[in-house]
Amino acid sequence: MITAAFEYHRPSDLAGALSVLEEHGDDARVIAGGHSLIPMMKLRMAEVPHLIDLQDIAGLKGITIEGGMVTIGAMTTQHELINNEALLSATPIIHEAALQIADPQVRYMGTIGGNVANGDPANDMPGLMQCLNANFTLEGPDGTRSVKAREFYEAAYMTELEDGEILTQITFSAVNAGYAYEKQKRKIGDYATAACGVLITKDGDKVATASIAMTNLSDVPVLSEAAGAALVGTSCDAAAIKAAVAAALEDIDPTEDNRGPVEFKMHVAGIIISRAIARAWSRA
């Protein structure tokens, strides 16, 4: 498979990358790990006359945890997320979710920035970032701005990211909560038939807060506030979980594809959401 021809740029800093983006406008695109973009280019579903490789930009890499805030550079790979001990203790749900992305080879290359910026509804990190209420830092020719993960996704592959901007980092508060990321997929390497991230904090024997977000069940990741509200104040018993699942299912809109018809996806989603809630509660 041969992609359309392109010119390859490999800037050593962010200013260099932004200036190539500005010069070529729609004809330019940044590449991180490339494991979404290169397959699209091979299928000629994406044509990128100017490809800007971000791998040499040191400022886009790394994980820092300071004062309870986690900052992850966009070019940090899934493999690096999985193997970072400090991140594992600060926010273990990232480890659990990243291990369920694609396969080992893809995780060595695939980055958190690419995963969230691409806008692919099947990607796992967008839902997870909504669950964590993360912020994305976008840098462009007019400066830097911050957009909430919960407000970033507009439709499949359509996001708040403007032409000329690069998503440079992700920040969120480290959460000491019960957590679970559950994913049903047909095989390793497949996208989710349904996936769900849950964070639950406890007050005595009751649920104090609950954050529930779903992957690949609509054309955008879905945070179900109603599902979270259905758990708050309960002891997360069977009836409460059932009510939360019912609320979550109201908020999604899956489409039929080779993973099954809508009815099947709703069924699988119900099971995955309920498992995720139960496991997060068991760890709260």
């Binding site: 498979m1 396969d103 080992p104 893809v106």
Partner: protein, 163 residues
């Protein structure tokens, strides 16, 4: 588009090749450097037959442009062992019947090599999870897993003996 020079170290040797930016690494390795060990299987990032090691990462070389590997250190199956001096993993694949048609084997072994670098004492589950990006359509994986576990034990025994 114009060709550009790409410099990389492949199996310990410095190489300079001329490639169009759109040339995938697997084709540069196979056709420009004559290293036909890594195979083209699915060419869609699924099967892992094209797996090579790049700067300490297992990478599907069908999903990377050669220009992205500028400056990188690459190890292919040819860099692990030779017919006269097989790598421990190759010996064990031979011994335990870890292959039938052999098409997935170079990718399987380069992947297993990296896995054992990161986890010298894997459980069977670790091995199965670690090679889950490599597809074999012949063996049912049983003997591949056995080969890798046995190679790990042998490598560890050799390491202990050396101490």
């Amino acid at each position: 588009m114009t060709n550009q020079i790409v410099k990389m170290t492949v199996n310990g040797e410095k190489k300079e090749i001329l490639a169009e930016p759109r040339e995938l690494l697997i084709y540069v390795l196979r056709e420009k450097l004559g290293l036909s060990g890594a195979h083209v299987g699915c060419e869609t990032s699924h099967c892992g037959a094209c797996t090579v090691e790049i700067d300490g990462k297992s990478v599907k070389s069908c999903t990377m442009f050669a220009v992205q590997a500028e400056g990188a250190k690459i190890t292919t199956i040819e860099g692990l062992g030779t017919p006269d001096n097989l790598h421990v993993l190759q010996e064990n694949f031979k011994e335990h019947h870890g292959l039938q048609c052999g098409y997935c084997t170079p990718g399987m072994i380069t992947r297993a090599h990296r896995l054992l670098q990161e986890n010298p004492n894997p459980t069977e589950e670790d091995v199965r999870f670690g090679i889950s990006g490599n597809i074999c359509r012949c063996t049912g994986y049983q003997n591949i897993v056995k080969s890798i576990l046995s190679a790990a034990a042998e490598l560890n025994a050799a390491k202990e003996a050396a101490q």
